[in-house]
Amino acid sequence: MIGTVALMGAVSRLLLAVAPIWTLGLTIFAVGAWAWKVRRDVMASCRTPGDTARAVDRAGNTQELLRTALSVEAGTASGDPVLAAQVLRDARARLAELAPLADRPFRVPREGVGALMMGIALCFVPLPTAAEAPIARGGGLGPQADTPAAARTTPRPLRVAFTDTPTAGEATDAASSSGSGDRASQGGAATGLSAGTAGSQGQTAASGDAASAQAEGGATPLTGSTGGRAREAGTAGTDELAQNSDGGSRGPTGEGDDAPEQSDTPVADQDGRTMQSPVEQTAAETDAVRSDAETMGLASETPDDGDAKTRDVAGTLDVRTDGPQFFDAEEKADDEQDGKGGAGGWTVGLSQPGRGGVNDASGSTWRTEAGLDNPPDWTDAPSEWVDAAWQDSPAGVIRRVRGGEAGGRGTAEYQAAWHRYAAIAESDAAFDEVPAGRRDLARAYFLAIAPSETP
């Protein structure tokens, strides 16, 4: 692809040298038109399973065996179940024979001029964006159900409270008390204050190193050098976030010993899922923080109440960098229209203050039960058996998820169950029957019962 683009550039320069500019424009237009046609053909040739079955049936002269089997499997066929089962057996018996007939509807040329033109055409084919495939991304829920527990990204709400007199110790304590590199990176990335929180991929080694750096910094006030180490550790993150981390160390914690006395202690809730990084700041430093938030695309969500003692931007943070990706662009627009959340992303119920707040978009008030002012006691919560049938088990196997005495929400079984059911809830929430304004309830609920990092 790179070679193709380079070749295109060379051809363009050559054309510019020997031909007037309109020739180049005409060439680009022609290539674009051709690419558009290729894209249209590709899209038109995409086959559904039914289309593929029809093509195979025709090629194999099966008298619609595969299509009938598909219908039987989908439960849309009519007739005696025994005969329907016979159809399935017949189809499976011939599957190996018929498989070669399921040729691809479109083959990408790999050599010659065709490959070159295809390369150009692919430049015009839009790739699925993150918002279009929320589940398929690393931070999504569905695929994680099949991944090892250690590799999963645990979604959690973010909460950062800015106070007037932040200290370095608070920030670092917050980082160290989180007990997880992933968690620390999220908190840092969200605030832009914690050093070395460049982990755009929460579970990457870079973020893990960043967490280590934070933990290291947690023993002492966060000095500039500590921030530097953290930046080194977190170099895998984006430049933008590196600037944020730089900004964090440049802030009130940058001077280490000169940092003012802490007036508030960082709080992470008992299971460590949420983290607050209270940092006392002056009004000017608050502006700097806001600037960081703007850099992260959060400015529109940051409450502009300069007189407030504590400023809570929780739930306004766009967690697209490393959190669960529950929403897509269309849904976010719906949320904005409904007054749920805003341009910065989706507001997480649990991360909101327990006393509720004012929605920026609609001005309406909202309230959540589980706020940080009244954090739920997850680990000591009474355990109970939860019986639930999982859909991949048609025989009705019941999976029991043990609660507190079996290790709480840190067990692999709980995590697996949580990911599965959260994915189901998320997919079902996309149905039109579920009002867009109510979808956040299910999401907030699953965030509230999200598994913890450790048993």
């Binding site: 008298q63 619609e64 989908a74 005696d80």
Partner: protein
């Protein structure tokens, strides 16, 4: 035929039974292979058939031979303009009691049979034709306020003569819709005519033998209704029906110009049922779109009401159906 625990084996047995039945009919009825197959398809599907053809083509012989081969109770009604409904359904009649008195007793009409031949049905008045409506649709007859069920199978085969229009009463659309198939009885070929001349003019003529009984036929009909019909076949049949309507954009242009009214939902039922029957006769356990396509002309032709423009342009219902079949793909 006893019910087999293995439906696949039952299908094979049903196919063999139907093949024996077809062979039995052929011993008496010469030629018209396609007509015999269509007749058996309608029989297995449990539908009523309308045979249309010139006089002397053997329509009555075909129906009677079928009844003989099945060992079923056979009745024949020759429709005439003075035929009354009670002549079909039956009615109360005065009978002498054992004590010497008299009493009214219901006397079943010819409709109480398994195979009913309504010969030249278009010669009967609409009132008399309507007497068959309830029997054909509900397989029951109401006489003097009492509803009497007809013993299954109940199979109406009506014939009509297309060339004698004087003194006839064309069947109303509602009654036409109750016939699953409208079969055209073609004129035989030269070879068939020669065989007819050689085999039916001797003293000893072939007779039909019973090759299938009533319960066996009912089991075959039940088995046909159990065949697997996938969703795309329903979809195809539904689109076929919709395409016969001029307000639909699924059909060809000829539908919009020539058709006044398209096929009814009953046509959809008939397409699927006939498709099942055809698949069973072929020994298949599932119905394909090809089965539906094969029976579509038989099902749809008499259910399409053509407009005046069609008559001007000499467009027939079969032309419309052919256009629909060419337009609607599976």
């Amino acid at each position: 035929m006893s019910q087999s625990p293995d439906p696949t084996e039952a299908i094979v047995r049903a196919r063999n039974s139907l093949a024996r039945l077809e062979a039995g009919i052929r011993t008496v009825y010469i030629g018209q292979d396609g007509l015999i197959k269509d007749l058996l398809t309608g029989l297995v599907a449990g539908g009523h058939l309308l045979l249309e053809g010139s006089p002397g083509l053997g329509k009555t012989l075909l129906v009677k031979t079928l009844a003989d081969c099945l060992g079923l109770r056979f009745s024949r009604i020759q429709f005439t303009p003075d035929l009354m409904p009670a002549d079909i359904t039956g009615g109360p009649s005065m009978v002498e009691t054992p004590t010497g008195g008299t009493a009214l007793q219901f006397r079943p009409g010819p409709v109480f049979a398994h195979v009913l031949l309504a010969d030249e049905i278009n010669r009967g008045t609409p009132k008399t034709q309507s007497a068959l409506l309830e029997a054909m649709a509900e397989r029951a007859v109401t006489v003097a306020g009492e509803r009497r069920l007809l013993e299954p199978p109940f199979f109406v085969l009506a014939t009509q003569n297309p060339i004698e229009m004087e003194g006839t009463y064309p069947l109303p659309e509602a009654q036409l819709d109750r016939f699953m198939f409208k079969l055209q009885v073609p004129f035989p070929s030269l070879d068939v005519l020669k065989r007819i001349g050689s085999q039916t003019t001797r003293n000893k003529q072939p007779t039909a033998e019973r090759v299938m009984d009533r319960l066996e036929l009912l089991e075959v009909q039940r088995l046909a209704a159990d065949l697997t019909v996938p969703d795309h076949v329903f979809d195809f049949a539904g689109r076929l029906v919709l395409a016969t309507h001029p307000e639909s954009n699924l059909g060809p242009e000829v539908v919009r110009t020539a058709v006044r009214f398209g096929a009814s939902p009953r046509a959809m039922q008939a397409l699927v049922r006939a498709g099942r029957a055809r698949a069973l006769m072929a020994g298949q356990s599932r119905v394909t779109t090809e089965d539906v396509r094969a029976v579509a002309p038989l099902v749809l032709t008499h259910r399409i009401v053509l407009g005046f423009e069609a008559q001007l342009d000499r467009i027939g219902a079969r032309d419309v159906v052919d256009g629909v079949l060419g337009q609607v793909t599976d």
